[in-house]
């Protein structure tokens, strides 16, 4: 088993820098989530690690050894492609068997391993089908089974569960984690599902325009984003912009917002504060329960139901704030209602701007 070290990797397509001086250390046996907007270079990075494409500069090492001269087939990776890349000329079973069979495993071993992998992705009965006879999600699961059945040392997953419904996705997540733990595969996976990234990974890296923006364990990134981008990209955040006061910031309209975490900044500098919508308590009365709490008044403009929670959009002179409230079955606020928003300084992260 082996960690993956990526150092100062750059790769351009024409004038476009798809990867720009990216360095990440994917720990041996770790589960690493790559996040980033569409076109930020996630797939490009995975392709470099797999060896399909070569960097303009920078180095990649797997298990401590530079892989510059190691061809793809010797890197012992498993990959799920964003477009699946199933072999159209083979049955589902043969697709999954491919990796074992080129390795020359015994027929019986292959058959049982393949059946096991197909069962694992809940396609045990479809081994005889051709890829074009499958639904999108079924194809994706075949791709997943094909990648894991060979027990590679590094697993590169490009949105491996994107086409699956929630229930199945959770099942697959659990399986992936189990496999990864059992045989200690270093797993790097790209996902657009935030919850998936947060719940599954040991560490998260956020890419933007080919650059690594922030990197760390999920809760750290969630609780202490280092930029407005990181704050809003992973999870949601209300952003207030103003000047630092030492303990927080002062908004242009004079309101002071106290912050309990984040960068230490000289007073007077431009800065912003980020507050997670779920940290804000929304109430109709103004009775202060906590004198230290930040407080703002506003008016509910919209409520959006999202299953286990609802989001209230609260207008406050020009700015709309989001507040998430768990749907515990208690009373709802009506649109137009005047409300008071409160949140603690500890829930407020100070971020340097510019």
């Amino acid at each position: 088993m082996a960690g993956v070290q990526v150092s100062n990797l750059s790769r351009s397509f024409g004038a476009h820098k798809a990867l720009d001086d990216v360095s990440i250390d994917f720990a041996d046996g770790g589960f690493y989530a790559l996040l980033g907007p569409s076109g930020s270079g996630k797939t490009t990075l995975l392709r470099q690690i797999a060896g399909f494409d070569f960097p303009d500069s920078g180095r990649i090492a797997i298990g401590g050894e530079s892989v510059e001269r190691v061809p793809v087939e010797k890197r012992r990776i498993g990959m799920v492609f964003q477009n699946y890349a199933l072999f159209p000329n083979m049955s589902v079973g043969d697709n999954v068997a491919f990796g074992l069979s080129v390795r020359g495993e015994a027929k019986a071993t292959i058959a049982s391993e393949v059946q096991h992998a197909l069962d694992l992705v809940q396609l045990g009965k479809l081994g005889g089908r051709r890829p074009h006879q499958l639904s999108g999600g079924q194809r994706q699961r075949v791709a997943l089974a094909r990648a894991i059945v060979t027990k590679p040392r590094v697993l590169l997953l490009d949105e491996p569960l994107g086409a699956l419904d929630k229930a199945l996705r959770v099942d697959m997540q659990i399986e992936l984690k189990r496999i990864q733990r059992e045989i200690g595969i270093t797993t790097i996976f790209v996902t657009h599902d935030q919850e998936e990234a947060l719940t599954m990974s040991d560490r998260i890296g956020i890419l933007r325009d080919g650059r690594l923006v922030q990197e760390g364990p999920p809760e750290e990134i969630y609780d202490s984003p280092k930029s407005e981008f990181a704050a809003t990209f992973l999870g949601d955040a209300n952003i207030f912009r103003g000047e630092t006061t030492g303990t927080g910031i002062r908004l242009p309209d004079g309101t002071a917002i106290a912050a309990g975490a984040g960068a230490a900044l000289a007073a007077g500098a431009k800065a912003s504060c980020a507050v997670r919508p779920e940290r804000i308590r929304i109430a109709t009365d103004s009775g202060t329960s906590d004198p230290n709490a930040n407080m703002l008044r506003g008016q509910v403009s919209k409520r959006i139901f999202a299953g286990n929670n609802s989001t209230y959009f609260v207008d406050r002179g020009g700015q709309t704030l989001k507040v998430i409230v768990q749907n515990t079955g208690i009373e709802r606020l009506a649109e137009g209602q005047k409300v008071v928003l409160r949140w603690s300084p500890e829930s407020t992260v100070l971020i340097a701007t510019g």
Binding site: F54, E68, R69, P71
Partner: protein
């Protein structure tokens, strides 16, 4: 990475070797058009007399033009009809399709000599007679199976979703075909066209049976000549044709893209 480079380099080398193999006879043919001996005799003695006498040889020149004209028209007609037929064979399921596909092989399998004789008899019988039109009729028919087989092979790689996507955007059958399917199968159509041209341009037997005196094609002239009066004028005219077509092709490749898109 290094092995990839080496393999790529070997690949390129291989292509050049293949081209060398393919062009070897053509180069010799061209050289011999500048050799004094009409019997490919060595040592080589430079001359341009064959080009000069070619200039005087009205019959050879007019036969060459006939050949070029017929080959071009054959290419156009057979690629159009052949591509249409391939599309139909690809798109629709119907009874007897296998038979239609099998019917493409008689024109290829039966030696052209027999086909040519049969055409001569039949055309004579039904009053089509001989002449350039009859030659064209025959050439297109001989080229059609090649076009259909080649275009069909390419169509096998086509993803039908693309046609569906186009139709969902309101494109009618013709627009779907011309703007989505055709661009995809274009390399196949072009390959089919190249084969059709080659089949027609080098077609001796059928032309021979169907040509009338004074209205012959280049291969007919050449075959008649080898009996008694072969001269390297034939090499000269072939060389000119090859050089001109090569220039045209390279120009085409320079300005059009048809090798296939990803």
């Amino acid at each position: 990475m290094a092995t990839t480079r080496i393999l790529e380099w070997c690949g390129r080398l291989y292509i050049w070797l293949l081209l060398a193999f393919l062009y070897l006879p053509v180069i010799i043919m061209a050289l011999m058009s500048f050799n004094v001996s009409p019997f490919y005799q060595l040592p080589f003695e430079w001359t341009t007399e064959w080009y000069a006498s070619l200039w005087q040889n009205d019959q050879l020149i007019s036969a060459t033009w006939n050949s070029i004209e017929i080959a071009i028209i054959t290419t156009i007609i057979s690629t159009v009809l052949g591509s249409a037929a391939s599309l139909a064979l690809y798109r629709y399921e119907f009874r007897g399709k296998k038979v239609l596909q099998a019917l493409l092989f008689p024109p290829i399998a039966i030696p052209w000599l027999i086909t040519g004789t049969a055409m001569l008899i039949f055309f004579f019988g039904v009053g089509i007679g001989r002449g350039l039109f009859a030659i064209l009729l025959g050439h297109v028919a001989l080229a059609l199976p090649y076009v259909i087989v080649v275009v069909s092979a390419r169509l096998q790689t086509f993803a039908p979703e693309l046609e569906e996507a186009a139709r969902s955007l309101g494109a009618n059958q013709w627009q779907v075909t011309s703007r989505v399917t055709l661009p995809w199968i274009m390399p196949g159509v072009i390959a089919g066209g190249l084969f059709a041209f080659a089949v027609s341009f080098d077609q001796f037997v059928v032309s021979y049976f169907l040509s009338t005196p004074g209205q012959t094609t280049l291969p007919v002239e050449i075959y008649a000549a080898i009996r008694k009066g072969f001269t390297p004028e034939i090499n000269a005219v072939s060389t000119i044709i090859i050089v001109v077509s090569m220039a045209l092709m390279l120009l085409t490749a320079r300005f059009f893209k048809f090798g296939g898109e990803k």
